[in-house]
């Protein structure tokens, strides 16, 4: 599916890929294109480079969408939001807590604060939670979301499950419910186990954990259902996944890993964007390196050596992503050239959008 039709028709576009490949810029440029096509578009970013954040008016972590002033001739709207993992998580806890006191107890718990900030996959999970929330509100008809720049970025696919599994942890469930008679025997063994853990890491850590699980009692169901709804939204026909990569071999290998993981979750990559592609200067393959050798000692030698450098890198890059596109059946492929400067204003994003649509 071409990026032009994705930005024109879909409700959600998820950009994934490894760090440093221009994912945030790509996501922002797709939202810009959406706005130019008359859509109310919002880009949700995780950790934008500072100057791009400034350009999008994202100078603080507000966790709410801010409208960006654009060319008044654009028929649509452009909004941007920078994800604040912790406040998204806090809102989720408040939503599912039985009463305000339960929410307060959880939000105060030291272990909860660690989870909200550090549990592997929390950021990924909250990005998807925020996406769900924005989609649910119905204020935007195109939401483009940037995923965190880690190899674990696809943890959002199982982060909700991981959290519920975490909440279901057998050892702690037993500690929380020690009164049930038939669990007494297990409970003794568990207490011994926890004592050993305390010996290694200290009492405080274990008592924080126990308090946390007690505070969370009864909320698992709500979390589980919400997680299910988020996963359904991600597999919806109105949601498209765009894989962003750089043509270096390691970045392509990462991209292939992402594509495989998505496929395991029955999600197809609909478009591949390869950023930072080196230009090709030779009209036909003419063996510049050999020419340099035959012209050794003449002023043409360095010119051919240089041309050969670029021919070789272009050829390698082409081979690298030919390999990847072979594995992504049906995905459109868009190449964006190596841009001389970083993108940090709306005009720059319009330029990138131009490449993405070509």
């Amino acid at each position: 599916m071409s990026l032009a039709s994705l930005t024109a028709d879909r409700a959600i576009v998820v950009c994934c890929g490894s760090g440093g490949v221009g994912k945030t810029t790509t996501a922002a440029a797709l939202a810009v294109e959406g706005a130019r096509r008359g859509r109310r578009a919002c880009v949700v970013t995780i950790d934008p480079a500072k100057r791009l954040a400034d350009a999008l008016g994202l100078d603080s972590l507000t966790n709410t969408a801010g409208r960006i002033d654009v060319d008044p001739s654009w028929p649509g709207e452009l909004w941007a939001l920078m994800l604040d993992t912790k406040s998204t998580f806090d809102a989720l806890v408040s939503r599912y807590a039985g009463e305000p006191e339960q929410a307060a107890r959880i939000l105060d718990n030291r272990m909860y604060r660690n989870i909200a900030g550090a549990l592997s996959g929390t950021q990924e999970y909250m990005a998807m939670e925020k996406l769900f929330e924005l989609h649910d509100e119905g204020r935007f008809d195109l939401i483009v979301i940037d995923t965190p720049p880690t190899r674990n970025a696809l943890d959002f696919l199982d982060a909700p499950r991981r959290l519920t599994r975490f909440l279901d942890n057998r050892w702690f469930r037993i500690v929380v419910m020690p009164t049930r008679a038939y669990l007494k025997a297990v409970s003794v063994a568990t207490q011994a186990f926890l004592r050993t853990v305390s010996r290694v890491v200290g009492n405080q850590v274990v008592s924080d954990a126990v308090a946390f699980f007690q505070a969370f009692e009864g909320m698992e169901e709500g979390f589980r259902n919400r997680a299910q709804a988020v996963l359904e939204l991600l597999s919806d026909d109105n949601t498209a996944f765009v894989l962003v990569a750089a043509p270096r071999r390691d970045a392509i290998e990462e991209a292939a890993f992402f594509a495989d993981r998505l496929r395991e979750s029955n999600i197809d990559v609909e478009a591949l964007v390869v950023n930072r592609v080196h230009p090709r200067f030779e009209v036909e393959r003419s063996g510049a390196r050999e020419r340099a050798r035959t012209l050794h000692g003449t002023p043409l030698e360095p010119l051919y050596e240089n041309l050969a450098d670029f021919s070789e890198i272009a050829e390698r890059e082409e081979a690298n992503f030919a390999d990847l596109t072979g594995r992504l059946d049906g995905a459109s492929v868009t190449r964006v050239p190596f841009l001389a400067d970083d993108i940090h204003d709306l005009d720059g994003l319009v330029t990138v959008a131009g490449y993405l649509m070509s």
Binding site: G20, V21, A49, N114, V201, G202, A209, L300, E312
Partner: protein
């Protein structure tokens, strides 16, 4: 011990490999420790099987191994007479709960093991291929965080030992890696200050990766050069040569600007490493980069 740190995609793993190779060629025994199971080091040395917890010889004078938190935990518990509990901790998921209750505990287990390797002098130089930038700071700062969270016990003394190692510049230093581009430069500057402030580790240098090497004689116009050489250029050829030369010149200018900006923001020696046009990273390219590192250090 040298910890190689930088954001993803800047070539941290390649630089780790080149650094180890450079040490080996100077007659030292080097060990590369790859944190978290990335497969980069093995690939760089042309291995087809992934590295694991056991050391493998990857090149002359260079050994390499991985170090994951789970392995480090099992080894730690076994060494402390808790073999049985280690299996239960992992299989029950209780370790995830503990790691969440005291974040950084997994990092400290890994760093504790690294510290032990350093103490045992298993190699003349230990190169640690650290997690990507933001994570590197969290990873290395974990010991400080744990001193607050864990009041007593073996983990606390482990954290103290790790801090002693990280803050002793005669035992341990950080080599930063970046690219001569705007965002990577901004990020490496930020990482550098955070590492100094939050970890107290000493920074040795910044490897600036992907520099377009200079070619003399690119400012000559191809038509003139052809006339001088008595050669006839095919149609389009002059234009290809001219555009390619202009592109290299333009990019080199941008790279020089970024290197200069980096020098102003970060008073550390820079070690320039060439961009590899002709082939993917393999053992031969690692040697090229090892030479460049050695030349860069020589020039300081």
């Amino acid at each position: 011990m040298i910890i190689v740190a930088g954001k993803g995609g800047v070539g941290k793993t390649t630089v780790s490999a080149a650094l180890a190779r450079m040490a080996a060629r100077a007659g030292l025994q080097a060990l590369i420790v790859e944190i978290e199971g990335k497969s980069g080091i093995g690939n760089a040395f042309g291995r087809t099987t992934p590295l694991d917890y056991h050391e493998a010889v990857v090149a002359d004078g260079v050994r390499a191994r991985t170090l994951t938190p789970d392995d480090a935990l099992v080894e730690y518990l076994e060494a402390h007479g808790m073999r049985r509990i280690s299996k239960r901790l992992l299989s029950s998921g209780a370790i995830d709960v503990v790691a969440t209750a005291a974040p950084g505990i997994k990092d400290i287990l890994v760093l504790g093991k690294v510290k032990q390797l350093e103490r045992d002098q298993v190699a003349d130089l230990i190169v640690v291929d650290a997690p990507a930038a933001g994570h590197a700071v969290t990873f290395l700062a974990s010991a400080h965080g744990l001193l607050d969270a864990v009041q007593m016990g073996p983990i606390r003394s482990q954290a103290q030992d790790v801090i002693d190692l990280l803050t002793d510049s005669s035992r341990c230093q950080v080599l930063l890696v970046t690219l001569p581009e705007e965002t990577p430069v901004n990020e490496v500057v930020e990482t550098a200050f955070q590492l100094e402030d939050r970890v107290g580790v000493s920074l040795s240098a910044v490897a600036v990766n992907g520099i377009y090497s200079h070619i003399d004689g690119l400012d000559v116009d191809p038509e003139t050069a052809a006339a001088d050489a008595g050669v006839f250029l095919r149609p389009h050829e002059a234009e290809s040569l001219r555009n390619a030369a202009a592109f290299r010149g333009h990019r080199q200018g941008l790279q020089a600007d970024q290197a200069e900006r980096l020098a102003k923001a970060l008073p550390l020696p820079q070690l320039p490493l060439p961009f590899l046009f002709s082939s993917e990273v393999g053992p031969a390219q690692i040697d090229v980069l090892a030479d460049a590192l050695a030349a860069g250090i020589e020039a300081l």
